[in-house]
């Protein structure tokens, strides 16, 4: 997928798009891969997603995880290092394999310094991400597992632009911060309602619209990132 399919890059001027293109190289990301892990000899990177979907995970001391967001081609991963503020509590786990464009954070930081207008586009994306995390954090507090699962599956389909998802119960348990058996039960409920089906280990969303009212009518509003 070309770099232009990324939502952030798409909003830049043609000249700025070319500048970003110059410092990026295309990469393939694979489900299960961890991005931006602070490894000793590796320099920080930024990824503009163009097909891959990446979950934002928080882990507690006991290594119980919880997903607070899902980023697709509308966004980027690794903006924190560009701003020198690494939120060390977030881990980036690739949920859906796909393409991305990778650049050295230092190169992108320099570009931002030279082209102040770009910071505005970054700001917009970062704010949308903030609201997205707020919405998911709120749902974690109040919604039952079935509703949260429906929400996450609808979100995953939306971000991946696919209704066929390779998501195991184990993975979904990690995303929702619940035990695997809770996912199995919740998935069973959604299956009974005719909203999803599992075929040969692949989750098929039979009724995306049906999942979404379970999620919210809010998600159908323009710009609402759920």
């Amino acid at each position: 997928m070309t770099l232009l399919t990324n939502g952030i890059i798409f909003q830049l001027s043609k000249e700025d798009q070319n500048r970003v293109q110059n410092i990026c190289k295309p990469v393939q990301l694979f489900a299960g891969q961890i991005l931006c892990k602070p490894v000793h000899h590796e320099t920080p990177k930024i990824y503009f997603l163009t097909g891959a979907c990446v979950a934002l995970l928080v882990k507690n001391k006991a290594h119980n995880a919880l997903a607070v967001g899902l980023v697709g081609s509308e966004g980027a991963i690794g903006l924190g290092s560009v701003l020198d503020s690494n939120s060390e509590n977030l881990h980036f786990l690739v949920q859906t394999s796909g393409s991305a464009w990778m650049a050295e954070s230092a190169d992108f930081a320099l570009l931002l310094h030279q082209r102040p207008g770009m910071l505005w586009v970054i700001s917009q994306h970062l704010w949308q991400l903030t609201e997205h995390i707020a919405a998911i954090s709120a749902s974690v507090q109040f919604e039952d597992v079935t509703t949260r699962l429906a929400r996450w599956l609808a979100l995953s389909a939306e971000r991946a632009q696919m209704q066929q998802l390779h998501l195991t119960h184990e993975h979904l348990a990690q995303m929702l911060g619940v035990r695997r058996v809770s996912i199995t039960l919740a998935a069973g409920e959604l299956k009974e309602r005719g909203l999803i089906a599992y075929q040969r280990g692949v989750l098929n969303i039979l009724n995306l619209a049906g999942l979404q009212p379970t999620v919210s009518s809010e998600s159908l509003k323009p710009g609402r990132l759920i």
């Binding site: 934002l56 507690n60 919880l66 060390e88 977030l90 700001s123 707020a134 954090s137």
Partner: protein, 260 residues
Amino acid sequence: MRSTKNIQFINFVILIDVNKSNFEFMNKKADLNKIISFLPELVYEEWAPHFERIDLETGQVLYEPGRALRHLYFPLTAIVSWVHVLENGSSSDVAMIGREGMIGIYLLMGASQTYNSAVVLKAGSAIRINLSVVLNSFNQGNAVQKVFLRFTQNLMTQMSQGAVCHRHHTLEQQLCRMLLMVLDRQDGNDITMTHELMAKFLGVRREGVTQAARRLMEENTISYTRGHVVVHDRKSLEKRSCECYDIIKNDQDNYIKLNH
């Protein structure tokens, strides 16, 4: 016996003095909000004359979806809760903002509306500035925008860590975390907050908070009388809290260090 003219003169002098000390007051007060203290000199000089010091009441709604915001708020002693309202009507406090931050930042991040609300959690003072002044002021440039971006990242850390805290930690741990976060946003150990309010912030019933606070009170880590929580032993609170408090605090300290 004073003539009328002299009295008028005296009044005039008093007025000047009040204005001058008001401005000095503003200067000193500005240091008490971190975002204001991070503003570059030129931006600060342009905004400062338009700062208004106001008092905020508990429960006051500063903005909500659909209600256009006309001011930016920089809390001083007040603490504001960022609230997300779910479709089923329940509202979840996802972050708290005090003197380290600002309310209305979405307007400076290219968003024209928000899906959240800002509700005053703890009454206190704040600085308010008319949005038109901020939007009309000359291009602030990257330095200022970076301050807002870093604050936004700080918010994300608070919310994301809060989510995992809700999911995986005990109510007692969450209560300790919340109390510590409030202490960091005020001076002194006396927190003006009822059990109801704390319960609302934590998203639980009042009885839950009373229960969770019981052990803390028995150990005299805190005491509670008529809407005031007094913290006697901060170290003990820190010990009883989960790692979420440290993570949020470190992130906040880094954000402050970066901007200086």
